[in-house]
Symmetry: C2
Subunit: 530 residues, 2 copies
């Protein structure tokens, strides 16, 4: 029905993308077979950044330390580097951009063990990197030197779910997709979704304050996380696993740990408000001829789709060319190529009402000529396929070797100009082109509904020249528009030195004070964040 209307207003034909595996499944697969490592050899971070030096305050692990860990942990909870095992799964990040040299990974199975480990490391001044699903994009989850890796992967139990309130309590190491599937069975949904869901942890998304695809609708984790259980650097367990939607008794301590990227405490448990599972989803894929029109469509969508609008993503032409190179057999959803594409998702409790709202909205924007072409998914398969054109971009951007990723907040009107300015700069530096030029190109896409741009620079190799062309250029651009140099991915190792582009010296000072306040020995995730 909707399809007919669209055909009427645009005169174009409608095709639908073919079938693919779920992106998260793909992601898991890639990781397991080390897909990228065949194309690019990750160099040690310490070699790439010779200016960063190992802090001599931190103790080098001894056999005594190992014996202590053996005394409190079982064999399966300890992984040691050996000739056959270089622990690269834990030492290298998802982008294969950062590589540490840890010789020891601990995977404790209880909160008490996390506490014992930290207490010991704090006393002995052993540096520790907390690690979730290791899907972070700023090099925060892997060591720089020989830091001990404390993986939360074995803390992976659902603790409790209340079907009346929708409050979920779980261990930090539960994989996001598992948590979501669990509550979906009880007619609820996790308030956050992202491409890495098949690998990332609930604790990891809280530690990074991940945003993702549903933020537009359900808000940030600062609103939906109700309680946390945290082990402090000295091993103290702070149990704040509250299950109340409202609780105004004192400073809201848990907020500090949301987005603290493992620098002041290890999150071991999460209590979170999930949302009622929508009964109906619609996805529509549209083309527009300018970024100005992207903005117009957004303002209209927010007014007309209002409470059922659950995602508003934009993708530029190049990002879809890249996606196409991965989605090989798939037919592109639209007839022709266009400068910009928009993916709109609605979700609600009544399919007829949602269809009618979307229909009216699309009729309006097409009749006014703001949207030039478009399709609406007619069933679940088509819906998944349309999403692929958005979700495949992160992987596609690094299929040629690597990717420099910038994830920024900008005023909507300036959002795309960063991509244009970056391409211009890379061309000027004569870095872009076919092989052997190192750069494939800069593309832009992202959660435009949140003022959040993902600028991805697809490269054939990581090298200093590219990095210097991009940084601090990108950060200076963002700062000049009063944006944020990290909308959602965080600071990690990559942006440690760039926080000043988004925060004032007073704010940075206050943050450093807090770090010292909670982690006086600085053992947690050193060389990163602030």
């Amino acid at each position: 029905m909707l399809r007919n209307i669209l055909v009427r207003s645009t005169g174009s034909n409608f095709k639908f993308a073919g079938r693919y595996m779920k992106s998260s499944a793909l992601l898991g697969y890639y990781r397991r077979v080390n897909y990228y490592s065949t194309k690019i050899q990750t160099r040690l971070t310490s070699e790439n950044y010779p200016d960063v030096h190992r802090d001599p305050r931190f103790k080098k692990l001894t056999s005594d330390d190992l014996n202590y860990f053996k005394s409190i942990l079982s064999e399966q909870e300890i992984l040691r580097a050996s000739e056959s095992e270089d622990l690269s799964f834990y030492n290298e990040d998802w982008m294969r951009k950062y590589k540490g040299q840890s010789k020891l990974v601990l995977r404790p199975k209880s909160v008490e063990k996390v506490s014992l480990i930290l207490n010991y490391c704090n006393d002995e001044k052993i540096a520790v990197v907390p690690q979730g699903g290791n899907t972070g994009l700023v090099g925060g989850s892997v060591p720089i030197f020989d830091e001990l890796i404390l993986s939360l992967a074995n803390l992976n139990k659902i603790r409790d779910f209340d079907p009346v309130s929708g409050i979920l309590k779980c261990d930090a190491g539960v994989i996001l997709e598992n948590a979501n599937n669990y509550v979906m069975e009880q007619n609820y949904m996790f308030p956050l979704d992202l491409g890495a869901k098949g690998s990332c942890h609930v604790g990891g998304v809280v530690a990074t304050n991940a945003g993702g695809l549903r933020l537009l609708r359900y808000g940030s984790l600062h609103g939906s996380v109700l309680g946390l259980e945290v082990v402090m650097p000295n091993g103290q367990i702070v149990n704040s696993m509250h299950s109340m939607r409202k609780d105004n008794t004192g400073y809201d301590l848990k907020q500090l740990f949301i987005g603290s990227e493992g620098t002041i405490g290890i999150i071991t448990g999460v209590s979170i408000l999930t949302v009622p599972k929508p009964k109906a989803f619609n996805v529509s894929y549209l083309s527009v001829e300018s970024f100005e029109d992207v903005q117009k469509v957004f303002v209209r969508a927010r007014q007309e789709l209002s409470e059922i609008l659950s995602a508003f993503e934009f993708m530029d032409a190049k990002s879809q060319v890249l996606a196409k190179s991965q989605l090989k057999d798939a037919a592109f959803p639209l007839e022709d190529e266009h400068p910009f594409y928009i993916l709109i998702e609605t979700s609600g409790s009544n399919k007829d009402h949602d269809d009618s709202k979307l229909e009216t909205f699309l009729e309006n924007v097409m009749e006014e000529g703001i949207v030039t072409d478009g399709v609406v998914a007619q069933d679940e398969t088509e819906l998944q396929n349309l999403w692929k054109w958005r979700e495949m971009i992160p992987e596609a951007s690094q299929a040629n070797g690597g990717v420099y990723k910038y994830d920024v907040s900008l005023p909507l009107k300036d959002l795309y100009s960063l991509v244009e300015a970056t391409n211009a700069r890379l061309s000027e530096a004569e870095l872009v082109g076919d092989s052997p030029k190192p750069v494939v190109g800069a593309i832009g896409y992202g959660h435009v509904g949140d003022g959040n741009l993902h600028l991805n620079v697809a490269v054939r190799e990581y090298n200093k020249n590219i990095e210097k062309t991009l940084e601090p250029f990108v950060y200076e651009f963002v700062s000049s528009k009063h944006g944020s140099v990290s909308a959602e991915h965080g600071l990690g190792f990559q942006k440690k030195n760039y926080i000043g582009y988004s925060k004032s010296p007073e704010e940075v000072k206050m943050m450093k004070d807090l770090k010292v306040h909670y982690d006086p020995n600085g053992i947690l995730n050193p060389y990163k964040y602030i």
Copy 2:
């Protein structure tokens, strides 16, 4: 149309409440004419609580201090106690329960002046009470002894509004209703609403992390506040007035100030994400025969009304009898009396769709006999009138003299048992009955959708005997159910000693450490909070 359906399913007639002034207008009126003070004489807090002593560390104001303030402030920015002016508007709280003895109120007109004042007070160890609209319900906004009152009332400008993103930036002293009216004109709405909106400040609601009537739909201020400008106890201005929906660059410092009740900094500016103004509102007033049925209706409403459900309030029979005593000429919305009433509000972008969802929902719950009677407002006037039966309760509860207010979070199933237990206990203590018995009765109502109960004990006078019967009884009850002793009103003076019923010793310790960290001289809002 809807009306007919209801008539069909219940057989009852439908009447609608008459016209009233907006509750906030009434509120302003009451305050100005000191309505309650004719009935009850507020005693000094220091007399009521002889165990609380003035901290000798704090300096008593001298003429030098006054001269300094005169040197930086204009005459209109300084209010001094005199024979004709006892500053009772600033010294007494909204409930007329707490009364301080401040001799000096400063009402600075700029952030820089706030900074100068605090810097001076910190150096001189002069205790300061930040005050917004003075509508707080826990005695947090008035002095206990001779603390200087720093009122934000003159910092009352809208700074900026962006109609594309819906982000509002304003001074802390803007009255909530003014802020809301301002954005309403541009098709947005403040994400928070409460009965005190005609008097309370935007900064005040942030300082208390107020919840209110729309939390169910738009979430807490921890999610919607994007930035704050804060003056620290030493006078340092921290400008964090960001206007980005997403910003993951470092610890989210602003979160600490949300709900900090003026104890670690003075909020002078607020940046907040407003929400698109709904195009359609519906309000329905229903009766059910048990609190179990209240819960059943809630679960159903969340499933069936889902994204358009914007308020779910319950009121017990006694609360409506009290409201009736204030809403004198108004016809009660329903034919008969019932043990419990529910007010449901929906808001959305399409009136027809909303009507149809509400209709189906009401048909279902009435056919199943869960709801026994009900009306739906047919126009804006009726809608306002139905809301009155909920919004009049706070005022009505204290129309006999005073009110002991408890605002707790409890698991839904235990929510009402606290009201029953409290009434039983008051009866046992032979405190309830017609005058001269001091207690009129305990009533229960509130934001049941958030697990939040307002327990109001209406009294003819404040006295120690009542207080001892209620406290710590109420807090012990809440603690035994793992609830919160303050869902939204905060700790203030009233609950300073009761935080231990909701938070662990580790958490309280961490909070006390933060207080010392930010306010080493303890000048901000002493004798309160933690």
